[in-house]
């Protein structure tokens, strides 16, 4: 068995651009370099044709109409536009006043939703941040219990980027339609990997990103429903009126072409990719659990994306573990790996014991991950964990039968 190192198991952070995507983009750097806003010549028409094809490819992936797709610079911008743009339009009172309306989101959203919601809170909106249960799944019942007559917007991510858990999206969407609230979902980790149909799934606003699905970085999309209900948004980038006025600025033509191609490929290969990724995830999780004790797979057992595994290895700290597996590119929820020295707020939010949050790795797979690479990872991680457990005072205490939660630690 031979694998080329380092191996890339961080596809939830970003994916390699598919070579077919790169190829589709290339002409738009050179012979088709026009500005899609140039309405009077061939160069402009070529760029515009390319963009409209990409819009159709994007719309097809999510069961929408091309007119409902707005291109952005990525999921961060899509989330900001959706959350802040909808709040402003559907506000019950003008800026500067309190009681502008109620918004529901959850504590394990990506920062690109959390921070806009926090800003809206400061600007006079009431925001409910739902805490996830231990399995990490936000249910429609939880949202229903938080609903108020003045709830204007619900923003719950489709699947979580750290643990891969899948929230009850169609159910939450149905609830929102029943109650007359706008439903936004951050689909960055879901779309392109899993079947998506904005009609069936009752979605009003859907964000996703190119670079998480084998497309280029710096380009994403926002689906904005046009019928039943027709959703309106306040734009925050004003200018030339591109993207139906919701996002002014000359379009990132090459990026959009790549985004469209990536959407087309994801749709065509979804079933195949999904089966393969699920097999890889099981191989990794079963491999590690079979080799070592106190290995915890975080998040709901079944309601999880096929390409993300989040695993805690008791008694070893995440950064030191990553140091032992230098040939594997992955992420950790450990505080020591973050600039803020705070452990993952997502794992903490799930009530994963603090020491297990520090002990976690996120391994995520993609279109080019192989079984050999998974086997290599299982071997390397097992070796590193065993090395570190020999050094771990906590492992000793565990072996002596001491319950770690009964010890009085000397915090500093």
């Amino acid at each position: 068995m031979s694998v080329k190192t380092p191996i890339y198991l961080d596809n939830a952070a970003t994916t390699r651009c598919d070579p077919r995507v790169v190829e589709a983009m290339l002409p738009y750097f050179s012979e088709k370099f026009g500005n899609s806003g140039s309405r009077n010549h061939r160069f402009g028409w070529d760029a515009e044709d390319g963009i409209e094809t990409a819009r159709e490819q994007a719309a097809r992936l999510i069961g929408a109409d091309a007119k409902e797709v707005i291109f952005t610079s990525g999921a961060t911008e899509s989330n900001n536009l959706a959350v802040k743009g909808a709040a402003e339009i559907y506000a019950k009172a003008p800026a500067g006043q309190q009681g502008r309306g109620h918004i529901i989101t959850c504590t394990i959203e990506h920062k690109a939703v959390l921070d806009p919601c926090k800003r809206l809170q400061r600007e006079g909106f009431d925001v409910t941040f739902l805490d996830p249960p231990a399995d990490g799944v936000i249910t429609a019942e939880m949202v229903r219990a938080a609903m108020r007559p003045d709830t204007i917007l619900v923003s719950i991510m489709w699947a979580n980027n750290e643990i891969g858990t899948i929230n009850e999206v169609p159910e939450i969407g149905r609830l929102c339609h029943e109650k007359g609230a706008i439903f936004h979902t951050d689909g960055t980790q879901w779309v392109g990997k899993m079947p998506t149909d904005v009609e069936r799934d009752c979605i009003d606003l859907l964000s996703w990103s190119g670079h998480k699905m084998y497309g280029p970085k710096g380009v994403g999309a926002l689906y904005v429903r046009r019928r039943k209900p027709r959703v309106r948004l306040a734009a925050f980038i004003d200018g030339g009126g591109q993207e139906r006025g919701m996002r002014s600025g000359t379009q990132n033509v090459t990026g959009i072409i790549g985004f469209g191609k990536a959407c087309e490929l994801c749709l065509a290969e979804m079933e195949h990719d999904r089966e393969r990724l699920l097999k890889l995830r099981r191989r990794l999780e079963d491999g590690l659990s079979g080799r070592m004790e106190v290995v915890q797979v975080n998040g709901h057992r079944d309601r999880r994306l096929p390409h993300i595994a989040n695993i805690s290895f008791g008694f070893v700290e995440g950064e030191s573990l990553m140091m032992g597996i230098k040939d594997i590119a992955c992420s950790s929820g450990s505080a020591c790996t973050s600039a803020s020295l705070e452990p993952s707020y997502v794992l903490k939010g799930l009530g994963v014991g603090d020491e297990l949050a520090h002990s976690s790795l996120r391994l995520s797979f993609g279109r080019w991950t192989t079984e050999e690479e998974i086997d290599f990872a299982v071997e390397a991680i097992t070796k590193a964990v065993e090395h570190l457990r020999k050094l771990s005072p906590l492992y000793d205490l565990y072996k002596e039968g001491v319950d770690l939660s009964t010890i009085e630690w000397q915090h500093h």
Binding site: C336, H358, D396, W409
Partner: protein, 141 residues
């Protein structure tokens, strides 16, 4: 972040790993001082055990560490430095010396503080067990 060669070396070949017995046994031994600092929820726990002669010379030292690579290297280095020294000499070791030796970046300074604290805690424990007054020394972090 890139680690210095010395950190990598201590990580791969930690010196003086271990303990002089189960935590319940060493508790009562007067020739052994135990220092445990940090907390699992902070992501770092360092345990240092010293075997000290009646004259106050550190004959042997063993560590265990749950923490990042820099924390492991800091505690491993600390055991090397204190072996053979008297307890008073060992108390002179400052975290800044560890930072310098291992070329730790600013975000990893607290890992070296942990090592200094564990030396202090282990020596205090040994002194207490032997009826020696512990100097109340304020140490700032």
């Amino acid at each position: 972040m890139a680690y210095s060669e010395k950190v990598v070396d201590h990580y791969q070949n930690p010196r003086n790993v271990g303990s002089f017995g189960a935590s319940s046994d060493v508790k009562t031994r007067t020739d052994i001082g135990v220092g445990i600092v940090g907390a699992p929820e902070c992501g770092d726990v360092m345990q240092l055990q010293l075997k000290v002669t009646a004259e106050g010379v550190i004959e042997d030292a063993k560590f265990k560490c749950f923490g990042c690579g820099s924390a492991i290297a800091s505690s491993s280095l600390a055991t090397e430095w204190i072996k053979g020294r008297t307890v008073d000499e060992a108390l002179q070791i400052k975290n800044t010396q560890i930072v310098e030796e291992l070329a730790l970046p600013p975000v990893k300074i607290h890992c070296s503080v942990l090592a200094e604290d564990s030396i202090r805690a282990a020596i205090e424990d040994w002194k207490k067990k032997n009826g020696i007054a512990v100097a109340e020394e304020a140490h700032a972090h």
